[in-house]
């Protein structure tokens, strides 16, 4: 893949600012301190990506938002997909905090409709704050899609996102950072870049 260390560092810097903005937004929503871990940015074979994030067969909730670059009225390029990935327990705890009900969290139960809505809305807000950070750096018109949520085995919920990319490439650039919220939550903020989208950004950054 045509990406060097300097380019990787630049993308990490942008991703870090985006994730920082996103964690501030999440902190305000939950009224809790949110730390972000050191962001990883690596090129991976698409088929290996679920294992990079967690156990393929374990239940996770995944909020996804597709991001496009608008070139003009008639042309938009798929930049990639932003994801908030939480294991089953973390999804219930975060949803409880978002809804202001931390007393009655039962992590054995499936997410309710209102919990799913709250997580979906979080994905929306996190995407918005990440993209506004990115826009400042790359001077591109970025457009976010409608957020979607699904709770199922990690491998299964990631399939469609990965297969969409796999139609055109074998490897993908994965940016991921862990949100440390209540210490033991397993929640990840992930941006998977398409090759075209990544090249567009690197071109803009001239690195």
């Amino acid at each position: 893949m045509d990406i060097n260390d300097k380019q990787k560092d630049k993308l990490r810097e942008i991703g870090n600012i985006g994730a920082g903005n996103a964690s501030n937004a999440l902190s305000k929503m939950t009224d809790e301190k949110i730390d972000i871990g050191f962001p990883g940015i690596e090129v991976h074979e698409i088929r290996d990506i679920p294992e990079e994030i967690g156990n393929r067969s374990k239940i996770h909730s995944l909020v996804r938002v597709e991001v496009h670059v608008e070139r003009n009225e008639n042309e938009s390029i798929y930049l990639g997909t932003l994801m908030l990935v939480l294991d089953r327990r973390s999804a219930k705890i975060l949803a409880g905090h978002l809804l202001g009900d931390t007393e009655n969290i039962d992590i054995e139960q499936q997410l309710t409709e209102s919990e799913e809505s709250a997580l979906k809305e979080t994905g929306n807000i996190l995407t918005g704050s990440t993209l506004s950070a990115m826009t400042e750096w790359v001077d591109l018109k970025l457009k976010e899609g409608v957020p979607d949520i699904k709770t199922d085995m990690l491998g299964a919920v990631m399939d469609e996102i990965l297969l969409k990319m796999a139609q055109h490439e074998d490897e993908a650039l994965l940016f991921q950072t862990k949100f440390n919220f209540k210490k033991d939550l397993n929640s990840y903020f992930i941006f998977l870049f398409s090759r075209k989208g990544r090249n567009l950004i690197l071109e803009k950054l001239s690195v």
Binding site: R47, D48, S57, M153, L154, G155, A156, D159, D170
Partner: protein, 148 residues
């Protein structure tokens, strides 16, 4: 042995082949009763003209059928079961459905029938294929296991 996306494995006797977290991908199970041998292919994408990557159903299935044959299995005796091809999100592109159709086409072009299938829907699946007896255990999220 876990089988990764776009890959296949062949096992014998007491080995168990697995495909975990199948969403829109399709798991194709082949079983040779005479030799207690089984193959499992984890199909990512439908067949496409001019594409020679194992990501695509035609290339991957060609490889697994060829290796089963090279190991001594008679292709016409193989029992075939398929699982997966779900549409995981509301705003889905129809990749799961296209994978199912492509896999079925590849199977029927070899004159084989599908003995069991659990495909489509909106839930992920995990499968365990027992190489000794060809049994497949299927697990869907939030439901129990089922044996095929």
């Amino acid at each position: 042995m876990n089988v990764k996306m776009g890959d296949y494995e062949i096992g014998q006797d007491n080995q168990v082949l697995t495909a975990m977290g199948l969403g829109s991908c399709v798991g194709v199970c082949l079983y040779d009763q005479d030799n207690q041998r089984a193959g499992l292919a984890h199909v990512m994408l439908p067949a496409e003209d001019g594409e020679e990557s194992s990501k695509h159903a035609d290339v991957l299935l060609d490889s697994v059928f060829t290796e089963m044959k090279n190991k001594g299995s008679h292709l016409s005796d193989l029992e075939v079961k398929i699982y997966g091809g779900a549409s995981m999100f509301d705003n889905s592109f129809d990749i799961g459905e296209r994978n199912i159709s492509s896999v079925k086409e590849e199977i029927s072009s070899r004159g084989l029938n599908i003995a069991k299938e659990d495909t489509g829907g909106t839930k992920g699946r995990a499968i365990w294929l027992n190489c000794k007896n060809g049994n497949v255990v299927v697990r869907k999220s939030f439901t129990g296991n089922r044996k095929d």
